[in-house]
C-alpha cells in the first residue's frame, strides 16, 4: 500500500464513520442479515428439502449484495448458475438418494458440538482479524460501475483468456467424469443385480431339489 493511497482511504474512512451509515450501507446490512439468517437456517434445519430452499434465499441475498457492490454481471451469474442450476441439481440429488421428506431427526451427526466449537472459534478469529485490518478501509462506490457486463467482459477477454479456456476444458472433463461415474455405477449395479438374481434362482433351485448337489457347490 503506497502512502498516498493509504492517506486517501484513511481520509475517506474518517469522513464516513460507522455511526453515520449511508443508504447503501444500511441496505447491505439488512440484506446481509437476511442472507446470514438464511444460511444459518439452511445448515441447521432438520428438513432436508427446506435446507435447499433456504440455501436459495441465501444465494439470492448474496446476488443482491453483489448488485450493491456494483458487480452486476457477477450478480446475474450468481442467480443463473447457483439458484438456477446448482440448487436444482442438489434437489435432484436429494430426490435420487431418497432423502426423507419432512423432519428427519438424524440430519446432524454426532459431531455437532465439536463443529459448533470450531465454527465459532473460526468465526471469532476471522471477524476479529478482518475488523482489525479493515476498520478504516472505505470503498468508493460512486462513479462508473466496477462490475458492469462491459467492464467484466473486457477484463475477462483481455487478460484472462487463457485461464478461461482452460476452465472450459475443466468443465468438459468434469462433465465426462460425472457421466463415467454414474455409468460405471450403473454397470456394477446391473452385474450385482444379475448375481443376486442368480443366487436367488440357485437358492430356489436348491430348495426345490431339482439341481444336482455338485453343481450347486460352485
Amino acid at each position: 500500500m503506497t502512502p498516498s493511497h493509504a492517506a486517501v482511504s484513511a481520509a475517506a474512512a474518517a469522513e464516513h464513520g460507522f455511526l453515520s451509515p449511508t443508504g447503501v450501507e444500511i441496505t447491505f446490512l439488512l440484506i446481509g442479515l437476511v442472507t446470514f439468517g438464511a444460511a444459518l437456517v439452511s445448515v441447521t434445519t432438520r428438513q432436508l428439502v427446506h435446507a435447499a430452499l433456504w440455501l436459495v434465499v441465501a444465494l439470492g441475498g448474496l446476488a443482491v449484495e453483489y448488485l450493491l457492490l456494483t458487480a452486476e454481471f457477477i450478480a446475474w451469474m450468481q442467480v443463473l448458475i447457483y439458484v438456477g442450476s446448482v440448487v436444482v441439481l442438489l434437489l435432484f440429488g436429494l430426490m435420487l438418494t431418497k432423502a426423507p421428506i419432512g423432519r428427519s431427526p438424524d440430519a446432524d451427526s454426532g459431531n455437532r458440538w465439536a463443529a459448533l466449537l470450531v465454527a465459532v472459534a473460526a468465526a471469532a478469529a476471522l471477524v476479529w482479524v478482518v475488523v482489525d485490518a479493515f476498520r478504516t478501509t472505505w470503498i468508493d462506490l460512486d462513479g462508473p460501475a466496477a462490475g458492469s457486463t462491459r467492464v467484466t467482459g473486457a477484463g475477462l477477454f483481455q487478460n484472462w483468456v487463457l485461464p478461461f479456456e482452460a476452465l472450459s476444458v475443466l468443465l468438459l472433463a468434469a462433465l465426462v467424469g460425472a457421466i463415467v461415474l454414474s455409468r460405471r455405477a450403473k454397470a456394477a449395479d446391473a452385474a450385482q443385480q444379475a448375481r443376486a438374481g442368480g443366487a436367488a434362482q440357485q437358492a430356489r433351485a436348491a430348495r426345490d431339489g431339482q439341481r444336482p448337489a455338485e453343481e450347486g457347490k460352485h
Partner: protein, 664 residues
C-alpha cells in the same frame, strides 16, 4: 653363515616344517615324516653350531623392531648367552628324539600329520622362548607352546579323559599367564622397554618401583607353565596325551620354560626378599608334595608326571637359593633323563598293554620283552634318584649345595630362611625320590604272574632313541660339571661333601625302605587279581595307550590310583595315601574356588541378560506401543472428526501466527 643367522634359523626351521606339514599333510603323506624329522634335526645341528659359536662367551645380541605400539615398542630380539645356547641344544636333542620316536609310536595313526606339525610348531615356539631377548615375543612363544600342548594332550579326543585334560591344561596355565602378562606390563612400564637386557639394566640401577609385585605376578605365570604349586594340577592329567608328547612337553621343555624365564629374570626376584621367600616356599611345597603324590600313583605316566613336578621344584628351589647355574644344570640333566623315562615308559605301556602299575606287577617277564627299555629306564631312574655317578647326582648336588650355601647366609639377596626351606625340603624329597623311583622299577619290571601277550619287537626308531638319550643320562653330569660354570656364568658346580653324602644317603634309605615294603607286600599280589589289558595287542603303540588311558578309570574306579594292596606305596604312606593319590584334593579346591563361581556367574549373567537388560529394551518398546494404541483409538474413520481436528488446529495456528506477527 654367521652365528646370528644360524640362531634365527633355529626356531624358524621347525616353524616352516610345521606349516608345510599342516598344508601338505593330507595331500602328500609321503613327505610328512621327513618334514617332521628333518627341520628339527637341522635346527638341532644349528643350535649346536650356535652354542659352539657362542662358546660360553659374552651374550650375543641382535634386534630389529617387530612393531611400534605407540609407547614401548616390541622388538624381535635375540639374546643368546651360554644358558640359552645350552637349553636350545637340549630342546633340539629332545625334540629330535621325540620326532624320531613318534614315527614309530604313531606309525598307523591317521592323525599323525597334524600331530607331527604341532610338535614341530611346539619345538619352534620353545626355541623362540629360549633365544628371544624380548619379553612380549617370549610371551608369544610361551602361549603358542600352551596351545600346542592343548592340542597334543587332546590328541586322543575320543576319550573323555583327554578332552577334559586338554581343556584343563590350557586353562590352568592361562590362569597363570594372565598375571604373567600384567607382570610384563609392570616391568616394561618401569623399564620403558620389553627387552630383557634393558629390564635387567633397570633392575640393576634400582629403577624398578615394585619389584615384589612384578616378581610375584611373573611367578604366577611361571607356576602355571612349570607346574609349580598351586598351579601344577594340570600336569598329571595331561598324561592323557600320547607318551612322546609327555616326554617333550611335560618333561623336558615346556615345563622347563618357566624355570628358564625365572633364571633369565633372576635379578628381578633378587631385588625383593619377599619374592625370594615365596619362591622358596613354593619350591619346597611343590617338591615334597609332588614326591609324596608320585609314591601313590598307579598310572606309570602319572608317577613320572609327579616326579617331573618334584624335580621342577628342585630347579625353582635352586633359583630361590639364588643359584642360576645350579637350576639350569639340573634343568639340562633332568631334561635328558626325564625324556628317556617317558619314552621308555611308552615302550613299556605298549608291551604291557596297560599303563597301570598294579596290572604290570601282575605281569611276568616284562623285563625280557623290552630289554632296551628295561636297561635304559634303569639308568634313568638311577639318575632320577641321584645315585652317583649318574648325571642326576651332580645336578641335584649343586642344588642342595646352593641351598646350603644360602642357608648359611653366604648368598647375597637370599634370606637364610629361604635357603633352609629349600635345603630341608630338598633332602626330604631326595628320600621320597629314591622311594618312588624304586617302587616304579620294582612294580614295572619285577612283576609276577602270567606273561603279557606278545607284541612283537618294538620299532627300531623307538629303541634307538632310548639308547641315544641314555648316554647323557648316564654321563652328562659327570663329564660337564667342570665345563658348565663357564657357560652358565656362575659358581662352581662341583658336588660338595656334606650334601652329597646326605642326599645320596637319604635316596638310598628311601630305596631300602621301599624294597622292604615291596618284599612285604608282593606276596599279596597274587591273591588279589587286578588288571585290564588293551584289547588290541597288535595295534599301534599310540592306540594301545589311548585305550589304556580310557580304560583306567572304568577298571580301577579312579584315574590316579588303583585299589591294590600289593602296592608298597600304600604301605609306606599309610593314611596319607588316599590324599596323595588325589593330588591332595587340589582339584576339588579349584572346583570350589574357580569353576563354581564362574558357572554361577554365567548363570547369573544369563538371567540378567534375559530378564533385566531385556526388560529395559522391552520397556522402551512398550512406551511407543502404548502411545500408538492411544492414537489408534482416534482413528474412527469419521471424516468429519478428522476435518474438525484439522480445522481446529488451523485456527489455533492462525491465531498464533497473527499474534506473533502483530507482536502481541
Amino acid at each position: 653363515m654367521t652365528t646370528t643367522t644360524n640362531a634365527v634359523l633355529v626356531p624358524l626351521l621347525p616353524f616352516l616344517g610345521a606349516v608345510a606339514g599342516l598344508l601338505l599333510g593330507r595331500t602328500a603323506p609321503g613327505f610328512v615324516r621327513p618334514l617332521a624329522v628333518l627341520p628339527t634335526l637341522a635346527s638341532l645341528v644349528l643350535a649346536v653350531l650356535v652354542a659352539a659359536g657362542q662358546g660360553g662367551g659374552p651374550a650375543l645380541d641382535a634386534a630389529t623392531q617387530l612393531t611400534p605400539t605407540g609407547s614401548v615398542p616390541v622388538d624381535l630380539a635375540l639374546h643368546i648367552d651360554g644358558t640359552a645356547a645350552l637349553v636350545a641344544v637340549l630342546v633340539g636333542v629332545v625334540a629330535t628324539c621325540v620326532q624320531i620316536y613318534s614315527t614309530g609310536y604313531l606309525r598307523d595313526d591317521p592323525r599323525y600329520p597334524s600331530y607331527a606339525a604341532l610338535v614341530s610348531l611346539f619345538t619352534s615356539a620353545m626355541l623362540l622362548v629360549v633365544y628371544t631377548g624380548d619379553l612380549i615375543v617370549l610371551l608369544v612363544g610361551w602361549e603358542v607352546m600352551g596351545i600346542c600342548s592343548y592340542f597334543l594332550v587332546g590328541h586322543y579326543w575320543e576319550t573323555p579323559q583327554a578332552r577334559a585334560a586338554s581343556l584343563k591344561a590350557f586353562l590352568v596355565t592361562k590362569l597363570g599367564d594372565v598375571p604373567f602378562l600384567i607382570g610384563l606390563f609392570v616391568l616394561a612400564g618401569d623399564a620403558g622397554s620389553f627387552r630383557i637386557t634393558t629390564v635387567l639394566g633397570t633392575v640393576a640401577g634400582g629403577g624398578l618401583h615394585h619389584p615384589t609385585l612384578a616378581a610375584l605376578l611373573l611367578l604366577a605365570g611361571v607356576a602355571g607353565k612349570s607346574a609349580q604349586f598351586p598351579l601344577h594340577s594340570w600336569l598329571p592329567d595331561a598324561m592323557a596325551g600320547p607318551t612322546p608328547v609327555s616326554a617333550l612337553i611335560h618333561a623336558a621343555t615346556m615345563v622347563a620354560a618357566g624355570v628358564y624365564v625365572v633364571a633369565r629374570l633372576l635379578p628381578v626376584y633378587q631385588a625383593s626378599a619377599a619374592a625370594m621367600t615365596v619362591l622358596a616356599v613354593m619350591a619346597a611345597v611343590t617338591m615334597a608334595s609332588a614326591a609324596l603324590a608320585a609314591l601313590a600313583q598307579d598310572d606309570i605316566k602319572r608317577v613320572l608326571a609327579y616326579s617331573t613336578i618334584s624335580q621342577l621344584g628342585y630347579m625353582t628351589g635352586a633359583l630361590a637359593a639364588g643359584d642360576r647355574g645350579a637350576a639350569v644344570f639340573h634343568l639340562l640333566s633332568h631334561g635328558a633323563f626325564k625324556a628317556l623315562l617317558f619314552l621308555a615308559a611308552g615302550v613299556v605301556i605298549h608291551a604291557a598293554g596297560t599303563n597301570s602299575l598294579a596290572a604290570m606287577s601282575r605281569t611276568g617277564n616284562l623285563r625280557d620283552r623290552v630289554p632296551d627299555a628295561y636297561w635304559t629306564m634303569t639308568v634313568a631312574l638311577l639318575a632320577l634318584a641321584a645315585i652317583p655317578p649318574f648325571s642326576g647326582f651332580f645336578s641335584k648336588e649343586t642344588v642342595l649345595a646352593a641351598a646350603e650355601h644360602a642357608a648359611m647366609g653366604h648368598t647375597v639377596h637370599v634370606p637364610a630362611a629361604a635357603g633352609w626351606t629349600v635345603l630341608v625340603a630338598g633332602l626330604v624329597t631326595a628320600l621320597l625320590t629314591g622311594a618312588y623311583a624304586l617302587r616304579l622299577w620294582l612294580l614295572a619290571f619285577h612283576g609276577r604272574g602270567a606273561d603279557a601277550p606278545g607284541h612283537g619287537r618294538q620299532p627300531v626308531a623307538m629303541n634307538a632313541v632310548l639308547w641315544v638319550l641314555a648316554v647323557p643320562s648316564l654321563a652328562f653330569g659327570g663329564l660337564t660339571y667342570r665345563l658348565l660354570p663357564d657357560w652358565l656364568g656362575g659358581d662352581s658346580l662341583a658336588p660338595a661333601l656334606t650334601t652329597s653324602v646326605l642326599g645320596t644317603g637319604l635316596a638310598l634309605a628311601g630305596g631300602v625302605l621301599t624294597y622292604g615294603a615291596w618284599r612285604h607286600t608282593t606276596a599279596r599280589a597274587a591273591r588279589t587279581p587286578l588288571g585290564a589289558v588293551a584289547a588290541h595287542p597288535q595295534a599301534d603303540a599310540g592306540l594301545v595307550e589311548a585305550e589304556a588311558v580310557a580304560g583306567h578309570e572304568p577298571a580301577y574306579g579312579d584315574i590316579a590310583s588303583a585299589p591294590d594292596p600289593a602296592d608298597p606305596g600304600r604301605l609306606l604312606l599309610g593314611p596319607l595315601h588316599r590324599h596323595a593319590a588325589a593330588g591332595f584334593h587340589l582339584d576339588a579346591l579349584y572346583r570350589a574356588a574357580f569353576v563354581r563361581p564362574v558357572t554361577a556367574g554365567a548363570s547369573l549373567v544369563r538371567f540378567l541378560d534375559r530378564e533385566v537388560v531385556e526388560t529395559y529394551v522391552r520397556g522402551a518398546g512398550a512406551l511407543p506401543r502404548l502411545l500408538g494404541a492411544a492414537v489408534r483409538r482416534a482413528q474412527t474413520g469419521n471424516v468429519q472428526t478428522y476435518v474438525s481436528a484439522l480445522l481446529a488446529g488451523t485456527v489455533v495456528l492462525a491465531v498464533a501466527a497473527v499474534l506473533v506477527a502483530t507482536g502481541a
